[in-house]
Symmetry: C2
């Protein structure tokens, strides 16, 4: 149990709060694997390319779960396996991820497929809607938890 949720934050700045939760070299890669690649298990994350160490991966998954960004449950069909999934809070990171991809595609030499980048840039809303739909589709027996989320979009 390396580090638990900070009882007191260093500041109440939204950027700072986000960085305390996601500000490391690995957390967003797990989010990426869940959001774009459809990966769901520890093994899959571990082998997804960048070579995260298993202890670091375990700690990050625990932190993401504690932060309410991913949920975990044992696979009913193979009880050895644990299936991770983005929560609503997690899938809400999609706009952030998209902007990161667009920024990197513009300023760095990336391997992102041109078509995907173009879709993100020119059909942003549709792209985001599609991601959310895919997420909802993989819901399985989604527990009816829509607990937080103060203001949906209105006002």
């Amino acid at each position: 149990m390396p580090r638990r949720a900070p009882r007191s934050r260093r500041s109440d700045c939204p950027i700072s709060i986000t960085l305390e939760l996601l500000g490391d070299e690995w957390s967003l890669l797990v989010v990426r694997d869940l959001m774009f690649k459809g990966l769901r298990t520890f093994q899959e994350f571990a082998n997804s390319g960048e070579g995260i160490a298993s202890n670091v991966l375990a700690e990050r998954l625990a932190r993401l779960e504690a932060g309410g960004i991913v949920s975990r449950e044992r696979d009913a069909e193979d009880r050895r396996r644990v299936l991770y999934r983005l929560t609503e809070k997690g899938i809400d990171l999609a706009p952030v991820m998209v902007e990161i991809v667009l920024w990197a595609a513009r300023h760095e030499r990336t391997g992102a497929p041109e078509a995907t980048v173009a879709a993100m840039r020119h059909h942003r809303e549709g792209f985001l809607a599609e991601i959310r739909q895919r997420w909802e589709a993989t819901a399985g027996a989604q527990s009816p938890d829509s607990p937080l989320r103060p203001s949906p979009e209105s006002s």
Copy 2:
């Protein structure tokens, strides 16, 4: 010289590349200070609230400069002072920052002013345009460097 620019990246994924450059708990705070708070000097960053250690701040500034996100130059009026500034690549992080703020404002208890968040949410383009204008305004004797940036926005 703790760590230099990686000669080989762990992957060509845009998320991964961005995390190698900005994926830590401090770099984006410096970007925030430059982008939203108008801070420009080492001291100002050091005292901006979250309490970054001076050696870490120095290393981050060097890394951000090496990554082309900030530029530095000595103040002409007080040669002790170094003035940092976002580059074009740096100011292009504004959409990422805005999405982070919106996400955090929705899912965490932040101290972000309600009016600012509302402006980001409902007048996103205008908000971004304003940030860029403020950035251009502080240009001083802006060197005419618009070197990269493959596709501006068109296509």
